[in-house]
């Protein structure tokens, strides 16, 4: 299998606490891998490590042939991460924010492209980013991630805070992005979402370590 993303022997430890350990993961172009597991099993941390936001304690990550430890900035060009810690807008409007992200990642984008993204995401273009509700902020983050068309999408509970309509809209949008060839690693809580979106799942289990702390034990299975 040609891997767009390959993680080998990945582990992350915060002082004495093990977030996850021994994770091996490969994802092919266009493949969607669901991360499932109980709260505290390290799914969000794993996504942040894969997104090069956190340094792994051990193991290696290859993003589209780029060693993420040697060239994290090169790796970042190929991926987008949506999680709980969004970049503040500092007074930018939703349109300006999308324009800024798109321009930084892909160069100047047409007004029509931004308009289409805003309309599809159900976002008001003149709204202040810092005053958006959590759900609307999540819509903006997802819209920005889809707009920049990365090779790898890392999504941490992407539908959190979304209403039913938005959930359906973004679920369909994500399917389109996936079918267009984007490799997607997505942490989900709802099993129905996993079945609808993912080709495979990686289950992270909590298990007591020798010190009585939590360790994630990975296992993969086809959906």
């Amino acid at each position: 299998m040609t891997a767009m993303l390959r993680a080998t022997g990945l582990s992350k430890r915060f002082d004495a606490t093990v977030a996850f350990a021994g994770v091996d993961l490969q994802a092919a172009p266009g493949e969607c891998v669901g991360l499932v597991g109980p709260n505290g099993s390290g799914r969000s941390t794993l996504l942040k490590v894969l997104a090069t936001l956190l340094r792994p304690t051990s193991g290696s990550i290859e993003i589209d042939g780029v060693d993420a430890a040697r060239a994290p900035y090169e790796a970042r060009r190929r991926l987008a991460h949506v999680g709980d810690n969004a970049v503040p807008g500092h007074g930018l409007t939703v349109r300006e924010y999308l324009d800024f992200v798109a321009s930084a990642r892909r160069g100047q984008m047409s007004r029509t492209t931004i308009d289409d993204t805003l309309e599809r995401a159900g976002l008001r273009d003149d709204a202040d980013v810092d005053k958006l509700s959590a759900g609307t902020r999540r819509r903006l983050s997802l819209a920005a991630a889809f707009l920049v068309a990365p090779r790898i999408l890392l999504l941490d509970d992407p539908f959190a805070g979304l209403d039913a309509d938005a959930r359906l809209t973004f679920s369909r949008w994500l399917c389109e992005v996936r079918d267009a060839g984007t490799t997607t690693i997505v942490a989900l809580n709802d099993e129905r979402d996993v079945r609808a979106l993912c080709h495979r799942i990686l289950r992270l289990e909590r298990a007591a370590s020798d010190a009585g702390r939590v360790t994630a034990l990975p296992a993969t299975a086809a959906v």
Binding site: T52, L53, L54, P72, Y73, N85, G91, V101, S103
Partner: protein, 216 residues
């Protein structure tokens, strides 16, 4: 956005309501000094009013510039820079350089806003206007230093007050050192600009290594 990082910074600064208040206060302090001291107070023999204004102006800018930069910038530091780097897929050094250059541009505009008062002061001291323009160039090199130092302090200390006090003290120290060690105005300006560029280069180089990842 053709230059996304500087454009973002400039939009953020322009939206800060405190910017107008700060510029107004700065212009009022320069104009007030010119009117009160220049017209009302007697000067010592052999001392020109413009020379007094120049010292006052330099000190004022060294305090006001870091305050404007600290209060008006998009205050990104620590993990936020890492997140911004991931969002834009740009290196932290590019983010900080864009910030420094944008703020230097804004501070230069602030200096220009005070130019009419300094021109009046030059006229009162019977000095040619060309002296004012040379001093404006000097203030531009100070704006580069103040923006670089403020961004460096912002990265190190996220608190606005600490950033301002630290940046103002550093800017004043460099300005005073330049005044003490250099006699020719051009060398003075060059010294200040070189220190500003060195600080910018140092903080940018450091950020690419230190701000690669978020803190655990």
């Amino acid at each position: 956005m053709t230059l996304p990082l500087p454009t973002r910074e400039l939009v953020v600064v322009a939206r800060r309501s405190v910017l107008i208040a700060a510029v107004g206060m700065y212009v009022a302090l320069v104009a007030g000094f010119t009117l009160v001291w220049g017209l009302k107070l007697p000067m010592l023999t052999g001392v020109r009013f413009y020379d007094v204004l120049r010292i006052y102006h330099g000190g004022l800018l060294a305090i006001v510039m870091p305050w404007i930069a600290a209060r008006c910038q998009a205050a990104d530091s620590g993990d936020r820079i890492v997140m911004l780097s991931a969002l834009t897929s740009r290196r932290p050094s590019s983010i900080l350089f864009a910030k420094i250059l944008s703020l230097a541009g804004v501070l230069t505009l602030v200096v220009i806003a005070g130019a009419p008062a300094t021109i009046v002061a030059a006229k009162m001291s019977a000095m040619p206007v060309s002296v004012v323009f040379r001093d404006l160039a000097s203030a531009c090199s100070l704006s580069l230093l103040a923006s670089a130092v403020t961004v460096a302090w912002t990265v190190g200390a996220s608190d606005v007050m600490v950033t301002w006090i630290g940046a103002a003290a550093t800017t004043l120290a460099v300005f005073a050192a330049a005044s003490r060690w250099t006699s020719a105005p051009a060398v003075h300006d060059l010294f200040v600009a070189v220190v500003g560029l060195t600080v910018a280069a140092a903080v940018a180089t450091w950020s690419d290594r230190a701000l690669q990842y978020c803190h655990d």
